[in-house]
Amino acid sequence: MSYMDRLLWVDLGRGGTRKTRIPEEWKSLYLGGRGFTSKVLYDLVDVDTNPLSPENVLTIAAGPLDGTLSPSSGRFTVGCRSPLTGLLGDANSGGHFGPELRFAGYDAVIVQGRAKGPVYLFIDDDHVELRDASHLWGHGVFDTIRLLEEAHGKDVKVIAIGQAGEHLVPYANIMAAGHSAAGRTGVGAVMGSKNLKAIAVRGTGDIPVADDERFLAKVRECHRKLMADPTYQDFSEYGTLILVDIAQASGGLSTRNGQLGLFEHYEKISSHIYQDTYKLASKACFSCILHCKNYARVTSAPYECENMGPEYETMVTLGSRVGVGSLAAILKANQLANDYGLDTISAGTSIAFLMECSQRGLIDEKYEWGDASLVIDCLHKIAHREGIGAFLAKGVRAMSREIAGSEGFALHVKGLELPAFDVRTGKGFALGEAVASRGGDHLRALPNFELLSKTREEGIRWFGTPDCVNPYTESGKVGMVIWHENYGGVCDSAEICKYCTFATYAVMPQDVADLLAFAVGRQYSEADLLAVGERIVNIERMFNLRCGMTPRDDTLPRRFLQEGLPEGPAKGVTVDLAKMLPGYYSGRGWTKDGVPTREKLEELGIEAKGVA
């Protein structure tokens, strides 16, 4: 029940596919989605595996609630070793692909090897076939999807890479439906290195659940709780763009590569302006009642475009972070990035880094803040690795190694460019991004609790300390971050969107436990479930340590540790990780050097591999 109980293994080198049952241990200990992708990585990928070699394993996994009415549960995770960080790579996307894969009868697809020439994988329920993709190679994501729909019918769901993935840009995305991005750590480059252009799937099968009546009642209860949550109204109306306003208000709207936390053109990129100018509609991913996706159209030259988005991350990283205050230009840049299959966070942050190098005279060329046509030109060039694009395509860490004196403002952790939020204005986020298993990433922890103006009483009730609701202090953050990381592991493995579990704080672990119980037909306690999340955090930590990461890498760019913001509510604030990291390591049951102890691994049922 609820699991399709089939894995699809694809060997691109031999051109063969096979189907196996899911090991019982995977289901009980890792649940699905990110749990599966990280488990596969830990078990099958070696420390000496080059991320862009045939030996890297690319896993696309849905969760046991995908395809059901469970709220916002249509996501999927792609995992592999990252070509950008050299560590664990994964990216999570919404859209409609995850459910379709399950309707076709598979919980996950595991891709190994490299095809001799461009291919795509066509899954039509039981029928699975590798097909020539020569005619698709060189096309952007939009054309690729259109051509596959013309070939196989409008009802196929497609994930594809664009030119960025083909050119092995280490922050290339895998795109679902042309606007939902599996968009971090360069999973698209790994797909490109395998000569796999796309996966098209049609699924017409049933997904039964163990107890229809109680499952549906639980879904309704979750819907009611979501709709009663104050954050729900904002998200359903404005989408994540509401965060642009929140960031500006808290003095953390990342501007000019994080030199500032207030953007002088904020009014031009605010959620209300977007709403009143280019927005046409609110759209939803599969089974989601938040419908936070925005659909917009620009009809005037030179930035005519029509696409879903942007969301908050893109509005900042291709907007204020590069100093661009033209909403139309940001929309156009977002559309281009989606078509090329580029991570907007990494691309925008790489361009911002170059602009700051120029500002400081560390390079001779002039790259001016706010030059929208330059940003758009850079995106073209990154995707094709042409001219300055070849340099930008290396990512911030590699670029800064070639420019003396730039290290302090290279906005990355462990090689992954940092997302939009300025962590000086949220210390829980700062800790979360310093320790996240995929590097500079906010979604592993996403401790929104500290940002939502919760009361001190709520802080005590939820995490035992009133300080957890004050975003500017390091105190009281450890327990909150660990809870969010563990529950986040559950959400990513059940493939429930975190916006319905902890942006709204409506759907809680016991709710997910109930949804799973009524779907899968086995009992989960809240503690069981959070242990799954903890297990995933630990196995990912172990994979990274095996790959050579050290706890010294649990840090942030010097900018955030030493430079206070010059103005606004967070004026002068810096991050003191030393106040949080020791408590975090001990709270996790790790050594003072940040290594999971033998006892912790035994407790979680993880076999120590390759780490002393």
């Binding site: 997904i207 309704r220 709709m227 029509e306």
Partner: protein, 144 residues
């Protein structure tokens, strides 16, 4: 513009109500398809749903039987497999040979065949599940 919602849309219908379609409010979440399929077939499967939402750019097309007063599907059926009773189209599965004449006759694209079954909305006999799980107001009930 945007889909808006309030808690009170999660209401119960009764058999005096008819369903109204407001596609401009539809977000394309497809909860209606899922609710329909589990109600009628005991499993989630949009292809078994008697309602279908197709995204065209930023628009959602909602295809479902609108229970129109002149019900051309019934007139089109040469085998007498369809009948009108109290606001619903009833399918006599034994008489239906899946010829598709009713599908061609339906003005709203609301009839489909999947897995040798003719799929026509029966409004869940008065309390349609699709409406129950629609939170945007794209599907609503109004008194007949």
């Amino acid at each position: 513009m945007g889909a808006s919602a309030s808690v009170d849309v999660l209401t119960q219908g009764n058999d005096r109500d008819i369903r109204t379609l407001n596609p401009e409010k539809c977000s394309g979440c497809r909860n209606c398809e899922l609710a329909c399929s589990i109600a009628h077939f005991g499993a989630f499967n949009p292809r078994r749903a008697r309602i279908q939402v197709l995204r065209q750019g930023c628009r959602e097309e909602i295809h479902v039987c609108n229970h129109c007063e002149d019900h051309p599907c019934i007139a089109a059926c040469k085998r007498g497999a369809l009948a009108w009773d109290d606001g619903e189209v009833f399918v006599d599965e034994a008489a239906c040979n899946l010829c598709g004449d009713c599908i061609a006759a339906c003005p709203s694209g609301g009839i489909r065949v999947f897995d040798d079954t003719l799929l026509i909305c029966d409004l869940c006999h008065g309390d349609p599940m699709c409406v129950k799980f629609c939170t945007t107001g794209a599907l609503a009930l109004k008194a007949r």
